[in-house]
């Protein structure tokens, strides 16, 4: 349950009729072997799904943090909106004001930041979800650019 609660999808939208996108902050799983690579745990998605992840690593090749940032594009939005899936946060636009977020989602993001030793100012000092994503990304990678990380 705790593991599931650690999932946080920051943002999702439906830009096209057949694709939905969502940003995730999620735990890193895997052992680092070729068939069990370190990866962001975003659950299971249907054919046609793409995701791209930000997982900074140490010189040893192991992840520098126990969580990563990912953007998921899926032809089926169900994984994002399934009420049993606690990682779901449905947001309309990347530049939507954080003030429009439902309270439970603000709480979920805040808890994730706190539980992973990130400053809550990442949320409070910005007015948009883009700012939150950028803040988390820059926390783990000083060269992070949210316009590069993309899933088609």
């Amino acid at each position: 349950m705790k593991k599931i609660l650690m999932f946080v999808a920051l943002f999702s939208f439906v830009p096209f009729a057949f694709a939905a996108k969502a940003w995730y902050m999620a735990p890193i799983i895997g052992t680092g072997s070729r068939t069990d690579a370190f990866r962001v745990d975003i659950g299971t998605y249907p054919a046609g799904t793409t995701y791209a992840a930000l997982i900074p690593t140490l010189p040893s090749g192991f992840p520098a943090f126990n969580f990563g940032l990912a953007i998921v594009s899926s032809p089926d939005a169900a994984p994002f909106t399934n009420p049993n899936n606690l990682n779901e946060i449905t947001i309309a636009q990347m530049d939507l004001s954080t003030s429009s977020l439902p309270s439970p989602k603000i709480t979920k993001i805040t808890n994730f930041l706190v539980n992973h030793s990130m400053p809550t100012t990442i949320l409070t000092s910005t007015s948009t979800l883009r700012g939150v994503i950028r803040g988390v990304g820059l926390f783990v990678d000083p060269n992070f650019d949210e316009t590069i990380l993309n899933a088609n």
Partner: protein, 214 residues
């Protein structure tokens, strides 16, 4: 297909004329091959003993074992140990593209690799993850693998699928069948290294029409 002795590879929106023994081969879109291999040769010849169409030689990367071998004018993981091999020619900088055609027999498959270290098991690479029915673009640093891009679909089981990876400064993109699947800004490996191939440890998977351009 052969036309006047040259092997013609249909490469989506561009054509690459192969068969010349030396020199660069111009391709549409401004990407010029600095190495390529159609793996034409005697079955069983190890890749390290095979001369590529362009690019001098192949070397098994430090940290991996076994080797690829020629099989039906393609190449396969000869020992099932998942070797990574790099080409014996350097690009002029770290920005280049590597692609190959991959076919599997309902198993894991190999693919292209880039920015390969010649002294450690470090590189960016793409391969078919048959367990999850997905293409993965990963980085391997000092032997530890991290998944950066995944696309669920476009299975190479029984049919050749072209997989391509592009390195453009910090931006890395995975393509399958000519379609961009995802992009990451991971830049853990910044040096040009070498272009090459990676295997998944399955002797039945095939790789063909490998090329590297910039």
């Amino acid at each position: 297909m052969k036309i006047n002795g040259a092997k013609l590879t249909v490469n989506w929106s561009k054509f690459i004329v192969q068969g010349a023994s030396s020199g660069t081969v111009a391709a549409a879109g401004g990407c010029v091959n600095f190495a390529n291999d159609t793996f034409t040769g005697v079955n069983g010849t190890l890749l390290a003993a095979h001369t590529p169409d362009l690019g001098t030689s192949w070397t098994v990367q430090t940290g991996s074992s076994g080797d690829w071998a020629i099989s039906g004018n393609a190449v396969k993981d000869n020992t099932g140990t998942g070797p990574y091999d790099y080409i014996g020619v350097t690009s002029t900088n770290a920005n280049y593209t590597v692609q190959a055609d991959v076919k599997t027999s309902a198993n894991f498959g190999g693919g292209p690799a880039a920015r390969m270290s010649t002294s450690a098991q470090t590189s960016y690479f793409a391969f078919w993850n048959n367990g999850a029915s997905e293409w993965d673009f990963d980085k391997i640093v000092a032997g530890a693998t991290t998944n950066l891009i995944t696309f669920v679909g476009d299975s190479p089981n029984g049919v050749f699928v072209t997989v391509k990876i592009t390195m453009t400064d910090a931006t890395k993109t995975l393509f399958t069948s000519g379609i961009s699947r995802g992009t990451t800004g991971d830049n853990a490996i910044t040096t040009a290294g070498r272009a090459g191939v990676n295997a998944s440890g399955v002797t039945s998977d095939l790789l063909d029409n490998w090329s590297a351009c910039q």
